[in-house]
């Protein structure tokens, strides 16, 4: 049994390599769209999540614990629920239907942004709170405003926050539940790696599905390696 599994993984690996080196334009399109959608969603999630994380990190207000619990709970948002909620809003019969966004990459970006913003907010809150513990007295002595404090914390935690962004990106690029509902897995329009894998699985073409999975894994490895390289460079300068 194990031998069979290893053999099928080996075959998929060969297929993955062949696919990549064939330069198949359909494959490149899917890979590129995956990266584009998930990276854009990650950028938006950082724009939304980092200020929230920073505010909660330095804030001392009533109900802060409740906010923390909520943020941490939202990290576990099921993608399919996010997809459904976004679908109901973007559907032509929904409140935002007039925008005509359903079954477009924009809809997928919206869904993934909602999915990973809590992850960015919750993880950055932890990072920034730790850093603030170190800086707080110095910053108070300098009489920094709240905005100046947040800006300084975000900048000084930039390399740690890169890892936070990476966690969000990893979740976005790997999820299928949300994008398949709001994107529709339309060939040449909204098909991304994960929905393509789901499709090939449902066609029973498990080898191709596994090969696509391996390519997705390699892409994720590449992104992680790039970020890790940046972090190590920063660590040598004691900037982490």
């Amino acid at each position: 049994m194990l031998g069979e599994i290893l053999q099928s993984i080996g075959e998929a690996l060969g297929l993955a390599v062949a696919l990549v080196f064939s330069g198949d334009p359909d494959l490149l399109e899917i890979v590129f769209l995956s990266l584009q959608v998930s990276l854009t969603a990650t950028v938006f999630a950082c724009v939304i999540g980092l200020p929230i994380g920073a505010l909660v990190a330095i804030g001392r207000f009533r109900g802060r614990n409740a906010v923390l619990i909520l943020m941490n709970a939202l990290m576990g948002l099921p993608p399919v629920v996010v997809g459904l909620v976004v679908y109901l809003h973007l559907s032509r019969s929904g409140p935002l239907g007039f925008l005509g966004l359903l079954y477009t990459p924009t809809a997928m970006i919206i869904a993934q942004t909602i999915l990973i913003s809590p992850i960015v907010a919750a993880l950055s809150r932890q990072v920034l709170e730790d850093l603030h513990a170190e800086y707080a007295d110095q910053f108070r002595s300098l009489c920094l405003t709240r905005l100046q404090t947040i800006q300084a914390l975000l900048w000084d935690a930039r390399y740690s926050l890169l890892t936070v962004g990476l966690a969000g990106f990893g979740r976005a690029v790997a999820e299928v539940g949300a994008v398949i509902i709001v994107g529709g897995n339309i060939d040449h329009l909204t098909r991304v790696m994960t929905t393509a894998i789901a499709l090939e699985t449902s066609k029973g073409d498990l080898g191709l599905a596994l090969a696509l999975g391996i390519i997705l894994l390699v892409i994720a490895l590449g992104v992680n390696a790039a970020v890790q390289t940046v972090r190590m460079t920063a660590a040598r300068q004691a900037y982490v």
């Binding site: 032509r92 019969s93 929904g94 239907g97 966004l101 079954y103 060939d187 029973g204 073409d205 191709l208």
Partner: protein
């Protein structure tokens, strides 16, 4: 052919300008069997070349396809559940339903054939034997056209399989491909449309056990979504696509699509 929608995609990401993409394109809410069998990959380039209209296919179960179309999230509905389709039209969601093509359902099972139904044509008899033997049977369980058809066959066989749900009757709640994967994984009989089965890539030791009963006939219909219910639909382009499918050019194209030298769909639109 690929570069154009691709470029539009890139722009629409940042401008939310999806409307421009849809001026030239329509969305077909489709059953999975037509999509998974590769029919669209064959048909749509032919249609796009003659019409210049980009057709985007959202492949989901028939039940969900109808619901999505009722939410105005499609311009054309292409499914296989005649009663539901007629209801869709009579409630005003669709303009007119036209028979498009047919194939048939088959029951596939393992070579070991635990219920001894292999070679039977009488589908009710076969279902009765499966139930009697308590042999595993994997059902879509997702309100799709195939699922509805399967339930009606059980009903005419005088068996209520849902009473044994979770025992020998396993409802996957998934698409055809996922249900086939699950059924084959657990050694269960599965009812599937022939087109999906022929093009399915993970057959393992499975074969067609039951086929050829007139009751296993599987009719596909095409319905443009009604612009009176859904003003946002691209009614003209939808009508052009629907007309082309039932025209002699479209029907010939359907008939000429083959996988492994087997014709998957048999056009039967009424000639005008």
């Amino acid at each position: 052919m690929l570069s154009k929608p691709y470029a539009v995609t890139a722009v629409s990401i940042f401008l939310a300008g999806a409307a421009t993409a849809q001026d030239m394109s329509i969305i077909v809410q489709s059953t999975t069997s037509t999509a998974n069998s590769g029919l669209y990959d064959y048909l749509l380039p032919i249609f796009q070349e003659t019409s210049g209209i980009q057709v985007n296919v959202v492949a989901v179960g028939t039940g969900q396809a109808i619901k999505n179309a009722q939410n105005c999230d499609g311009d054309v509905l292409l499914v296989h559940a005649k009663a539901s389709e007629e209801k869709f039209v009579s409630e005003g969601y669709g303009t007119v339903r036209t028979d498009l093509m047919y194939n048939d359902f088959v029951i596939v099972g393992p070579i070991s054939d635990p219920a001894v139904v292999s070679g039977m044509t009488d589908v009710q008899g076969a279902l009765g034997k499966i139930a009697e033997a308590g042999a595993l049977f994997a059902s879509r369980g997702d309100d799709s056209g195939t699922h509805k058809k399967e339930l009606s066959l059980w009903s005419s066989a005088g068996v209520d399989p849902t009473a044994s749900s979770g025992q020998w009757y396993r409802e996957t709640g998934s698409g055809m491909g996922a249900t086939l994967n699950a059924g084959i994984g657990m050694g269960a009989y599965v009812m599937t449309d022939r087109a999906t089965w022929i093009s399915f890539g993970n057959k393992q030791d499975y074969q067609i056990s039951v086929q050829g009963d007139d009751d296993m006939f599987n009719q596909y219909g095409v319905i443009p979504v009604n612009p009176e219910k859904c003003p946002s639909v691209h009614a003209d382009a939808a009508q052009i696509f629907s007309d082309w499918l039932v025209s002699s050019a479209g029907q010939d194209a359907i008939a000429s699509y083959k996988v492994a030298d087997q014709q998957l769909f048999f056009p039967n639109a009424p000639t005008k």
